[in-house]
């Protein structure tokens, strides 16, 4: 294992210390592993979080127009309820707190238990669950669809809504509308190495890629030999478009790198996605190309489409000022 670390047990703490040092507008709460806004305001608080290793998710999205606090777990493991509770307390400006949870068993259990603890303290808390990964069939009896990079759109839209002074229920509603309108699909080309484990989490052959792979290396739906960008784009775009019941014709597009993929390749993929969408008469209102939700040093990318209406467009366009997203 080659990593720029001091000790595998300290990666989360030292990373968050680094984030707080680099971005003085956020404050770090050691032990709880929470990054929160330094400047508080009276509005609905937004909290997200999850296992570490997906940076800039979620600490990078703490700031004006997005989250109020992000709670970090160990690498790929949900933060515990006591940590999430600290995040809720820091985000609480008196108008209630909305938790944005990615759909994984561990995250759901820990965040819900934290919600119960916060409610016992008299803080009004509600939550939404993001499940955007079309590689997994949706299901009510089981864990169901995973939450991946589309979560960043939920942070952006709900964050903008909260800044308008909207109520907890209004913010929740727009978050749910966003969730209903996002679909994502990923692909991976090589594995990642958990600092505490030291060896790759899975193996792909030298010329092999995996379509539909999750951001923790969960298996996808198809292994194939390396394909040209054009073909990869097709394998991501088609299942997403097939999954939408209806579309407005205008989308926000996110091409997200998983950690080890050069921006050059992400832009090539974006260009191919643009052409495919054009063939389907879908226009791109706003594009995001970069590393938004990574998987340590996994190489590969995910594509997210957010089907837009006027309200979502306005909220996407609203200003934000966070370490990882500005505009």
């Amino acid at each position: 294992m080659k990593k720029i670390i001091n000790h595998p047990d300290h990666v989360v703490t030292e990373m968050l210390e680094g984030i707080a040092l680099a971005h003085p507008e956020v404050v770090y709460f050691k032990e709880a592993e929470v990054i929160a806004r330094k400047e508080k305001s009276i509005k609905v608080g937004l909290v997200s979080g999850g296992g570490s290793g997906h940076e800039p998710s979620h600490a990078g999205y703490v700031g004006k127009g997005m989250l109020d606090a992000a709670v970090a777990g160990n690498v790929f493991a949900s933060p515990s309820p006591d940590r999430v509770l600290k995040g809720i307390q820091e985000a609480n400006g008196g108008k209630g707190v909305l938790l944005i949870i990615k759909n994984y068993s561990g995250d759901i259990m820990n965040f819900q238990m934290a919600q119960e603890l916060a409610e016992m303290e008299g803080i009004e808390v509600d939550h939404v669950v993001v499940k955007d990964d079309v590689a997994v069939p949706d299901s009510t009896y089981s864990t169901g669809r995973r939450g991946i990079a589309g979560t960043v759109f939920v942070h952006k839209v709900a964050g903008a809504k909260a800044e308008t002074g909207a109520s907890l229920q209004e913010v929740k509603q727009v978050a749910e509308k966003t969730i209903a309108n996002i679909r994502s699909m990923g692909m991976a080309m090589s594995s990642c190495v958990l600092p505490g484990v030291g060896t790759p989490s899975f193996t792909l052959g030298a010329d092999e890629i995996e379509i539909g792979m999750g951001i923790h290396g969960e298996p996808g739906i198809e292994k194939s030999p390396v394909l040209p960008a054009k073909e990869i784009a097709k394998k991501l775009v088609e299942p997403i478009l097939n999954d939408f019941e209806k579309m407005s014709g205008e989308v926000a597009v996110m091409v997200n790198g998983l950690g080890a993929t050069p921006l050059m390749e992400l832009y090539i993929l974006f260009k191919e996605v643009t052409e495919l969408l054009k063939q389907h008469d879908i226009s791109i209102y706003r594009a995001y190309v970069g590393n938004f939700m990574t998987a340590l040093e996994m190489s590969g990318a995910s594509l997210t489409l957010l089907n837009l209406d006027e309200e979502l467009k306005a909220l996407l366009d609203a200003p934000c000022q966070t370490p990882a997203m500005k505009g």
Binding site: A77, S105, S201, G214
Partner: protein, 218 residues
């Protein structure tokens, strides 16, 4: 053979935690490999971190009631293990703490009650049941066969052996199950053909507990 009377003490529980820790350390590669096949490979790392912390804080767990000890264990595991295992074990221990209250030692029936409470808490928090390919299958298997022996008025040694063998059978049953919860669910084959790593580490705990208790039997 003199009949063996189970009296689980605080001291024995700490010995058990150390025995489990030793087993866990030994099986690092096996557990991580199991978890890499069906999950994301972090189960061992997180369990190890949590239980190591417990052993480090062992002095806090000495000379307290079972209720206090379980509550402390639950809070420590919850905050250090994280992930699914942390909140599930945390919920289990906290519920178990309520069951044992201020007792200083547990007999076989009380141990069964404590494990049942632990199991119920995990099932409620995880919204899961036996057959979902999780640690529940191990614990459920153990508790059921233990309860059966208790109902038959079997001796404590037999009750403990039943706990261990039932847990082993429960663990082994996860091999052919389809996962409904957790990350194994995302596998195309739902993890069929592989043991659930959480079921295996749960078995290591029951095995270590029974072995520590039985080692007093001479």
């Amino acid at each position: 053979m003199m009949s063996f009377q189970l009296k689980l003490t605080n001291e024995q529980y700490l010995l058990y935690l150390e025995a489990f820790m030793k087993k866990l350390e030994k099986e690092k590669d096996y557990i991580t490999q199991l978890d890499s096949v069906t999950g994301d490979g972090d189960h061992w790392v997180n369990m190890d971190m949590g239980f190591r912390k417990l052993i480090d804080q062992k002095s806090d767990l000495e000379a307290v009631t079972f209720g206090e000890m379980f509550k402390k264990i639950g809070m420590t595991i919850m905050s250090t293990v994280g992930g699914s295992s942390g909140v599930l074990y945390g919920s289990g221990y906290i519920r178990a703490a309520q069951t044992v209250g201020d007792l200083q030692e547990l007999d076989a029936a009380k141990l069964a009650d404590m494990l049942q409470a632990f199991l119920n808490a995990i099932m409620e928090r995880g919204k899961a049941k036996p057959g979902d390919k999780t640690m529940i299958d191990t614990l459920h298997g153990g508790v059921e066969s233990m309860r059966q022996k208790l109902a038959e008025n079997a001796g404590d040694a037999e009750v403990l052996r039943a706990l261990k063998s039932g847990a082993l059978a429960g663990m082994e049953s996860t091999k052919e199950m389809e996962a409904a919860k957790g990350r194994a669910y995302y596998q195309t084959n739902k993890g069929v053909g592989n043991l659930d790593p959480g079921a295996v580490t749960m078995y290591y705990q029951i095995e270590a507990l029974v072995d520590v208790l039985m080692s007093d039997q001479r």
